[in-house]
C-alpha cells in the first residue's frame, strides 16, 4: 500500500470511499472530486477514514461538501471509523456533532 491513496467500492446500495495517508492542501482537491464523483454511482456514500494519519481543514472541507451534496440531493452520507487524528480535527471544528459517524458500514446502514 502506498503512503496515501484511495479506493472506491460498491457494497449494496452504498459506495464506500476508503482514504488513507495524509490529507492536506496538496491532495484535498482530489479527495473532494472523488467524494462528489462517488455520488454519481450511488445515493449513499460512506467515507472510511481509519487509515488517515493527518487531515487539515482543506480535507475537512472536502467532507463537508460531500455531506452538503448528500443533503441537497436527498442522499445519505456517513463517515466510517475516523482515526484519532481525524476525530481531533472534527472536534476542533465542532463537526463531530454534525457528521453521521459510525464504526462500520453495517452500523451506518441501520443508523
Amino acid at each position: 500500500m502506498t503512503d496515501k491513496g484511495s479506493e472506491l467500492r460498491r457494497d449494496g446500495d452504498w459506495a464506500v470511499l476508503r482514504i488513507w495517508g495524509e490529507v492536506d492542501l496538496s491532495w484535498s482537491q482530489d479527495v473532494r472530486r472523488q467524494v462528489l464523483e462517488a455520488y454519481a454511482k450511488a445515493k449513499a456514500l460512506a467515507v472510511q477514514l481509519d487509515g488517515v494519519s493527518y487531515i487539515d481543514s482543506s480535507g475537512i472541507a472536502a467532507l463537508v461538501e460531500g455531506f452538503q451534496h448528500a443533503r441537497s440531493k436527498g442522499g445519505r452520507f456517513a463517515l466510517l471509523a475516523p482515526s484519532e487524528a481525524v476525530r481531533a480535527v472534527l472536534e476542533l471544528a465542532r463537526l463531530d456533532r454534525v457528521f453521521p459517524i459510525y464504526d462500520d458500514l453495517g452500523a451506518a446502514r441501520s443508523g
Binding site: D24, S26, I60, V64, Q68, A88, L92
Partner: protein
Amino acid sequence: MSAPPLLRLDFPARAESLAEVRAAVQRTLSAQGMESRVVARLVLAIDEACANIIRHAYRGCGDGTIALRIARHRGRLRFRLRDRAPAVDPGCVRPRDLSECRPGGLGINIIDDTMDHWRLRPLKRRCGNVLTMVRRLRTRKT
C-alpha cells in the same frame, strides 16, 4: 536578547512543501519534550497558517517563498511566518462562526484555538506579511 531559533526553514510556497514542513516542526517540538497531543495540535496550526499563505496571500501562484522560525523564550514558543506576497488586510483575517456548517475558513479557528495569541502584520516598506503566533508552554489549551 532573544533566544536563537529552534528551527529556521525557508521553503517554496507550494502545497507540496507542507509535508516536509510538518515533519520538521514535529521533530523540533518533540525534541523540546512536549506532549505528543500538543505537538500534533501545534503542527496542525502551523500547517493551516502556511496553507492560508499559499492559498490566499500568494493565491496559489507557487512562485513565492515562506520563512518559518520557531524560538523558545521565557516559557513561550514563538512561531514566525514571513511571506513576500502582497499585503493582506489583518482585519479580514479572523475566526468564523463554527455553528455554520460550511466548507472552508476553518484554518484561522484552528490557529486561534491553538495559540495563546497571534498577530498578522503587513510590512509597510517591503512586500510581504509577518504572522507571529505565541503559545505558552504551560497552558490549559490542548
